[in-house]
Amino acid sequence: MSKQRLKSELFQALQERYAPDLQLIGEDFQQAVLIEPGRLLEVLAYLKADAAYQLNHLSNLTAVDYKDYYEMVYHLYSLPLKQSLTVKLRCDASLAQVPSVTGLWPSADFQEREVYDLMGITFTGHPQLRRILLPDDFPDHPLRKSYEFNPVEEKG
């Protein structure tokens, strides 16, 4: 799959265009771009529309809890050009808020709701940010590393 990665000159071009808000991280199949939250939508819109990238398919959207910050991960894929790109974004643990990409990819709807549900990250601009897997009155966000499992005593 590594052969399907974005060409290195395209990476460079991206970095030059959005520096200093965008930096390249990782190597080989772990190569990704890290974006400042403020410019996320702008960069993604460019990646989706620009002829050299055409990343029109949001394959995966998820979040990782690194204790002091959350990392949002977007896996983009281009059907016409057969190339993929990983976009990452770090947001402060105390804030836990990132812009929603549902405007660009409606397919992000359920995935963002899932992240909100399990990880507790709020997506600004999401049309209906509700819990999706857990009950509406569930107290916490279980995929957070700080989550403690407290089994509720069965009544009865």
Partner: protein, 365 residues
């Protein structure tokens, strides 16, 4: 002027045709659907959280329980993800066996699809035919790994064990019989006028819209988008096989049905090619007893019967994954339900659900 108002109908979680514990909250105007909102979570087991307290190898049985009618595909997706992280080389024979199993499982899964379309449209006999023939594939898997549903056959570094000698003959026999079975389905179901009129022209979604809303797999290809990961981004040894990707034109229920029926034929072709080319040799790479992948993250996706199955694994260098996320095709495909169903009749919602083919084990994870 009489006053009319819409009403809400909860379809599920206990309902004969919601494919498990899916709840669809429908707003209806008479029998016409104003909106159909899927509600899930009734089968949520927290598999992603569980993964964080299991070793890499221990997680394989959990993948069986995601899309439990195509467990081989799930095993394959997960194991290849970890292998990518470990940069392992897989023995040739194991690669071929993986393809055989994954494609047989695709046929089995599509047979379930066909059966559920049949039963959701009221053709009970069609359902029985699908299940009868799926049984033969399950027998093959039983021969290979002793399990009929949750195989855990594909392991990190290869497959659990070599297939017994009789497996080959039995698989070839199945492949020889398969065209006859397909002809039977086409006679009983595909050629049926009522089925045709039930499926044709209802539940339409255009190609670009299907892609935007995140449909993948056969449901996307039914809308005419040529996107099969086996072709677009070949994983394992899929680039060695000669097969075509069936495409639909209009993206209606009928196309979603036809594409899957055609895919079964293609899968049978792949299995034949793999059986012919199957080399001798070991079926397991040298894998350390304790797996400690280097720190980093990896995303890998495969073409499962229900669409694009992706695994995102973050390793911190310990024996357990730091974070594991599964991109479940059924879950994301369900987003299309509301949009497709608007303006259709109740009976069409059932047909759309059947042709979108979500599986609740995977939706709820």
């Amino acid at each position: 002027m009489p006053k009319t108002q819409t009403y809400t109908l909860n379809m599920g979680p206990q309902h004969p045709s919601t494919h498990g514990v899916l709840q669809v909250v429908m707003e209806l105007d008479g029998e016409r659907v104003v909106q159909a909102i899927p509600q899930m979570g009734y089968l949520h087991r927290g598999i992603e959280k569980l993964a964080e307290s299991r070793t890499y190898a221990q997680f394989i049985p959990y993948t069986d329980r995601l899309d439990y009618v195509s467990s081989m595909g799930n095993n394959l997706g997960y194991c290849q993800t970890i292998e990518k992280l470990l940069e392992l080389d897989i023995p040739e024979r194991a690669e071929y066996l993986r393809v055989i199993m994954a494609e047989l499982n695709r046929i089995a899964s599509h047979l379930i699809f066909m059966s559920s379309v049949a039963i959701d449209l009221g053709a009970t006999t069609g359902m029985m035919f699908g299940f009868r023939d799926r049984e033969r594939i399950l027998d093959l898997f039983d021969m290979a790994c002793g399990a009929r549903l949750t195989y855990s056959y594909i392991r990190i570094g290869g497959v659990r064990e070599d297939v017994p000698p009789e497996f080959m003959a039995a698989t070839r026999q199945f492949l020889a019989d398969f065209p006859e079975m397909l002809a039977e389905y086409h006679e009983l179901l595909t050629g049926n006028e009522i089925l045709y009129h039930r499926l044709r022209g209802s539940g339409v979604i255009s190609g670009p819209r299907a892609l935007e809303i995140g449909l993948t797999g056969a449901s996307l290809r039914a809308s005419g988008v040529d996107y099969d990961i086996r072709k677009a981004e070949p994983y394992g040894i899929y680039d060695r096989f000669d097969f075509c990707v069936p495409l639909g034109q209009t993206g209606d229920n009928w196309d979603r049905y036809r594409v899957r029926m055609e895919e079964m034929k293609e899968s049978a072709g792949i299995v034949t090619q793999a059986l012919d080319a199957l080399p001798d040799g070991p079926v397991m790479a040298k894998v350390p007893k304790v797996l400690k992948p280097p720190p980093g993250d990896v995303y890998h996706r495969i073409e499962n019967p229900r669409g694009e199955l992706g695994f995102y694994v973050v390793s911190d260098g310990s024996v357990k994954p730091y974070r594991l996320h599964v991109r479940r095709p059924s879950f994301i495909n369900l987003q299309a339900l509301n949009e497709i169903c608007q303006g259709l009749l109740i009976a069409d919602v059932v047909a759309v659900l059947a042709t979108l083919d979500p599986l609740m084990g995977e939706v709820d994870c």
